[in-house]
Symmetry: C2
Subunit: 500 residues, 2 copies
Amino acid sequence: MAKTAITPTRAEDYPEWFQQVVRAADMAETSAVRGCIVIKPWGYRLWENMQRSLDDMFKATGHQNAYFPLFIPMSFLEKEAEHVEGFAKECAVVTHHRLEPDPDGGLRPAGKLEEPLIVRPTSETIIGATYAKWVQSYRDLPILINQWANVVRWEMRTRMFLRTAEFLWQEGHTVHATAEEAVEETERMIDVYADFAENWMAMPVIVGSKTDSERFPGAVETLSIEAMMQDRKALQAGTSHFLGQNFSKAQEIKFQSETGDIQYAWTTSWGVSTRLVGALVMTHSDDDGLVLPPRLAPIQIVIQPIYKGDDQRGQILQYVNELRDQIAAQKYDNQPIRIEIDDRDIRGGEKKWYHVKRGVPIRLEVGPKDMAADSVFVGRRDQPKCIGMDKAEFVAKVSDLLAQIQTGLFERALAMRNDNTVTIDNEADFRSFFTPANAKNPEIHGGFAKCHFASEADLADLLKELKVTPRCIPRGDNHPGKCFLTGKPAEHYAIFAKSY
Amino acid sequence: MAKTAITPTRAEDYPEWFQQVVRAADMAETSAVRGCIVIKPWGYRLWENMQRSLDDMFKATGHQNAYFPLFIPMSFLEKEAEHVEGFAKECAVVTHHRLEPDPDGGLRPAGKLEEPLIVRPTSETIIGATYAKWVQSYRDLPILINQWANVVRWEMRTRMFLRTAEFLWQEGHTVHATAEEAVEETERMIDVYADFAENWMAMPVIVGSKTDSERFPGAVETLSIEAMMQDRKALQAGTSHFLGQNFSKAQEIKFQSETGDIQYAWTTSWGVSTRLVGALVMTHSDDDGLVLPPRLAPIQIVIQPIYKGDDQRGQILQYVNELRDQIAAQKYDNQPIRIEIDDRDIRGGEKKWYHVKRGVPIRLEVGPKDMAADSVFVGRRDQPKCIGMDKAEFVAKVSDLLAQIQTGLFERALAMRNDNTVTIDNEADFRSFFTPANAKNPEIHGGFAKCHFASEADLADLLKELKVTPRCIPRGDNHPGKCFLTGKPAEHYAIFAKSY
């Protein structure tokens, strides 16, 4: 039986396995504040790498960063009816601006605000109010701005990274002179997200549009990327919204066109969050702990020197220092390889598991025998066995090896998704697909079902019963058919799944 | 009379000049939320450059980034008496977690929280509560963590960047086994800030310790860097606090030492904020607008092509594209030079002022005559006149030129500070030094006074009357003397000044 570092295993209890992987990798922990987590250094370094890659992609597509207020006056939220409807139930509300001694002891809020302030759950309304001042003429358009920020949504059930009361994210907010341009932007940014998910996170995603019931509150259309986790549930990993003129009308974002008439502008918004960290964990990790794709791993290679006594220590350390420098001089992904030596004075087995659980893609063990033979002992996180390799050969191939691991993780995840995606055209199959095969692990079920449907209203009861939702109407190869439940003619199929 | 881009000038009305420089450079604007600003792309790019440089310095000194909750339970703040005393009057308080329809129309807060949450004004208490869990043994120490975050202090009087209700900052929070180590850390980080201020921002600073009355609430010692603005007022640009065991006792951060006994840990905290953007603006800018030091400028060089008609346009653009590539291939500060071509179809004068007001260090004009002569017309933002230069010579010297500008700005600011710093040993001189010479511009006064003092209590009335504070007790060449007011023996002198 293989040694298992994480208890329980994925098969035993997937949600609990996830929490334990996050803990074992020292990525995050719960805090004293309900629903808020502490992102620890290893988790934050991963987020920083995500941020930097995404930020480069945003700038390459013409966007600039800016920063808008944390607080939204309550009256601003009220302006877009669907929007406030969507967020009113999860708003943290600031009502006072100081504390004073409570006659009963301790402190109490004082200095009541004339108008309550909402801690932003998303910033369409506060940013829109600013844009209304910036936009006068068609010459002021487009506005292409992104913000890196924290947001708060008071969720009743929270789970580390996947659903937290406060989370970190980026939100792009753009303004355009025409609907066409805004739609183009909406699509451009979902493509950026898909590119990032697949090529940086090694996480295959389906790009599509949300159905009416799943759209962002206030949007005309919401595009999303949907990924399959190892429990076959869907995770919405990023969204890009075409807001039409809904927010520009609510907020008076108007401009004089080239021909002189006054028009409402067309806006978009798009975002991804620290939820991606959770998605990454759930996509690649195994029963030994975290598995990281090399492009985002804070450390890509760790060297464990193995020695006895000070004499050997000096020799081995000199040897691994040289090796580290040789490897760091190689480039992967146009950057110097991120490599560290772990020379802590702890047992070898403990040290090995430390890095395994933290998902470092390649672990090198170097002891006196390896030094004598000019070889290294290579442990790939994505493979069960370690292998000996000639040192020079390893250095020459290290960049390819990292690229192989990156590609391999993507292919493994894609195969998993393909194996668990089926086309379903009748209710019986749909029911059986979404009924857990194993009563002991109710999280495991069929996966993604591709089903034609004519109207969401027809499906409502069945979906509610099975706790299934339409994830998206996939872009691309979609085509007409018949509703799997009613047999009515259907324009397209959607992906149906249980979801996070 | 020289043309003035900013109205009013510094001499006419310094505070208003500052606001106008910020506006003219398109760095920030006020928002609909009281005391909160919108940081616009040009201001945010400057902050991003500051962040990246500081972050590299923090990592080079062994720190890692993490992220802690935005909210602090009210009871956490109460634990450290001085601390809560210092912040209670400026806390934004969250009391509800949703909105519901108000019978009178609109919305109202609902879902009252059992315990109010404070939007962090600083994070010692929430981070300390987490550290108490992390620290068990001396082996867990030191903890060296930094956080990039937004904080909120409900200030009554706000001013863009310098004092805003919400601001962006970094806060380092460290835990150590001994007082010596914690003091060392406190000093190391104030040195990092001084290095950054002087060598990146080109802003000379005085490093010293705060007097009792000016210390951070809850700290044993606060070190600060103090800079002189062009109106001769002091601006506190960064602080580093030795917190002793005050917070570890309030929060039970305890560890088992090597000898087995349980001890309270020693903590520090240190921070700089978007206030630095305001400090930078006020240190270097002139009556034409923003002046940026090259190391932090978002764009270091801008090329303005000058032409008439499409034929000339094609030739000139080809020429300036080549020039841009030649310059971008040069390195300044170990990075490719940040250069852009401004080919917008607007008048040359308008375009020139656009970049002057935004503080771009070097502006190149290239027209047909320059092309024919293989020369460029060079406008340095730190000098009044443009000069013609051989193109090849410019490319060869561009990196030196940027370094010269950087050094020149520092030296100019240092000379200004030296010219306005005097030693004062009696009340009459002190009074006259801090009495405005020009009644029309009450902001302008003497500057920094170096004065010995024995006890802050002796000075309280005089300082209050003149609106002067002790900025810091400078480190280094300090020495005993006699109090300028009472003649009592004094251990050291302090810098006295009016301040932001």
